[in-house]
Symmetry: C2
């Protein structure tokens, strides 16, 4: 018998029929003798509908009131699932964020969880009642309703699992696990039985949008065993999804590279011929940060004759804003020969914990791309990732080539 | 400067455009220097939509969970109105029932208000912020969300006005006041500037469905000045609606009869030839009450030869159930010659506080009906009401005849 937290996303509770399906799955785990806390999102589309109403009234609505409105989406689904379970003869009880008392800071629409009171839920679990908790929401110390921001239900699930010291936090979604890469691009992509948090973070941040990044960080911090599963499988299915662990262990696949991630939401900006002197990186990127623009990759080449070239990537939505900021700075806060922007780029990354102990992976990656005539514009590496920026038009080709080069279509031996 | 509680019903907040209209009206009162607490219902149709979702899952859903689900309707409208007001540059803050702390008993779906903490609202009012409160809902001592039942938002408004000792509680609805009778039946029906609580209770319970009865009782108990107004008037309109007062005073109209009420939702049951002995009324009606059937009028005629006839009315929906209960009792718990049911009846009442001090009104009423050949099947009187049961087909005719007989089309002299 284990204590399991299950989290179901918006598509998993998107209709009465699907909620009934979730109830069947929860009932199976209950029948098997597990203690269960179930965390739900709003029905898919509902949060957007609610926020849309608010935006009809104001272009810049009060974040406090947006939270009051948006929090109703999950309040409906928790009540409905409780009723569906009770209809099957199973004891269940719903909790809003305030009722659990998921205490957050007061940062409306993007609050952070500070503390969870697990007493009421614990009482339910002991007497065989399933606790159903509204994800995405909490309450601040003054009793104001807060929300955790988009995808926050994953974080709610992980935080509840941490507070309850659950044996496992199962995240049910519309995919049946984490893949070596997007199967829509590489049909041979393979589901991974397990990956580490660090790999998951790299994969998630690169566009494998299975889990909200913050929830994975949270799980890593509190050592919560996280499992990604499909809610569209038969409720009686015993598929195991992908386990996300906080440590390497013998039972894990020993692949060197776990997956190929990619991202076509970025744009590249190069500032050419800037004086190669201390403080130049700050002179360039300080105003970008001040304008609240997130920078992803940053590359600085060794310069010649006292000058250097400096490149970085930003989200494509903020590309023009970043270009404007730099144009204003050129000749005033910094000198530069030229500022070149390119929004037709893509980032492709090979991710794997095995990199730590293997050499030659970068050159293998570069050779595979070169063999296909794909030019590399930027390179950036971390302990478990090699990322390259290439022309956007080669994205799919690059992903396929790398997936094959690292033999990700084959199960590790 | 006054402290005013305004309550807006579902049709008044049924769309973004209408919510904007409510905001304009609230803004006008704010501009005039009043302190305001605004109580809202859910958007019209929303509560039914939500409860419909629950009923898809269960024929008999848990009342606790129904309340969790239904309470979201008002939570959306309060957030939206706060945003609409803020967009006009007015300070506003929304409160769920739990946030105010509207403490109720634990009777889910039909809870009663026990206590209201007005501290947070009071703080808002003092600093010029408009407090916007979700109607229809509260919270029990264990933190469970409760609802007050259909029309409960009126009760919320009145209870808040009582707790805050407000100068007036304004109920905005889709009619512009209380009329001498239904204008759809009598085009000459006239809006009353003022009526007493007792008259309003009789009019409301008879089918003039302007206000929820419980809210009127509540207002009477706590001496809250209640005013019914239309939310469909221009927001700048200074129409005064109908004031409902708890005492007669000189400024009130001195009409003898205030209005003609009617009800076609009842059915009549007559038990003929029952032994005229003590306890017979209980023998007949005890099982009816035990079956949870509400009885309205009860009439017992003087009997002959030790027998009597006994008639009463019930809601038409419960007519068959009541007939079944009586049929089972006949010959076992009581003796009777015959049980006769008739669901094609209507009740018409003349209501007026002036009855207390005027005689001859009943005979005036009976004569007016007799002149049109309308037979009276049952008569029941109270201090401020004379009610008759007639054949349903004469309902409209009877209402018109009585409206004219009591000269309700003319303003009181």
């Amino acid at each position: 018998m284990a204590l399991i937290v299950q989290k179901y996303g918006g598509t998993s509770v998107g209709s009465i029929e699907r909620i009934r399906n979730v109830a069947k799955r929860v009932a199976r785990f209950h029948r098997e003798g597990h203690q269960l806390v179930v965390v739900l999102s709003a029905m898919s589309g509902e949060t957007n509908r609610l926020l849309g109403l608010a935006r009809e009234l104001s272009a810049n609505p009060s974040p406090r009131e947006l939270d009051v409105i948006a929090a109703t989406g999950e309040q409906v689904t928790i009540g409905l699932l409780a009723i569906a379970l009770q209809e099957m003869g199973i004891k269940a009880r719903s909790y809003t964020g305030a009722q659990v008392r998921i205490l957050t800071d007061g940062a409306h629409t993007k609050a952070r969880i500070l503390e969870i009171d697990e007493k009421r839920m614990r009482k339910d679990l002991v007497n065989g009642t399933i606790a159903i908790v509204a994800g995405f929401q909490g309450v601040d110390k003054d009793g104001n309703i807060t929300t955790l921001g988009r995808g926050g239900s994953d974080t709610s699930g992980v935080a509840l699992a941490a507070a309850l010291k659950a044996d496992e936090c199962q995240i049910y979604t519309d995919v049946d696990g984490v893949y070596t890469t997007d199967p829509r691009i590489v049909p041979e992509a393979r589901r991974l039985d397990a990956i580490t948090f660090e790999e998951m973070l790299e994969l998630a941040s690169q566009g494998s949008k299975v889990l909200q990044i913050r929830s994975v960080e949270f799980a890593g911090k509190y050592l919560v065993k996280l499992r990604v599963l499909s809610s569209f499988d038969d409720p009686e299915s015993t598929a195991k999804g992908t386990l996300i662990t906080y440590e390497e262990n013998d039972s894990m696949e020993q692949a060197i590279i776990s997956g190929i991630a990619f991202n076509r939401d970025e744009a590249k900006i190069s500032v050419m011929g800037v004086p190669d002197r201390p403080g130049i990186a700050y002179a360039l990127l300080g105003p970008i940060a001040a304008a609240n623009i997130d920078v992803d990759m940053i590359v600085q080449n060794i310069g010649a004759s006292g000058h250097t070239d400096f490149s970085f990537t930003v989200n494509r939505n903020e590309f023009q804003k970043a270009m404007d900021v730099l144009s204003r700075g050129k000749g005033t806060t910094f000198d530069a020969r030229e500022i070149i922007g390119d929004s037709h780029i893509a980032k492709v990354s090979a991710v794997g914990i095995g990199m730590r102990s293997h050499v030659g992976l970068a050159s293998k990656m570069f050779k595979a791309l070169a063999d296909e005539g794909i030019n590399i514009q930027m390179i950036s590496t971390s302990e478990i990732k090699i990322a390259v920026v290439i022309d956007e038009k080669y994205l799919e080709l690059a992903v396929r080539v790398l997936h094959k080069a690292f033999e990700l279509d084959k199960a590790p031996g």
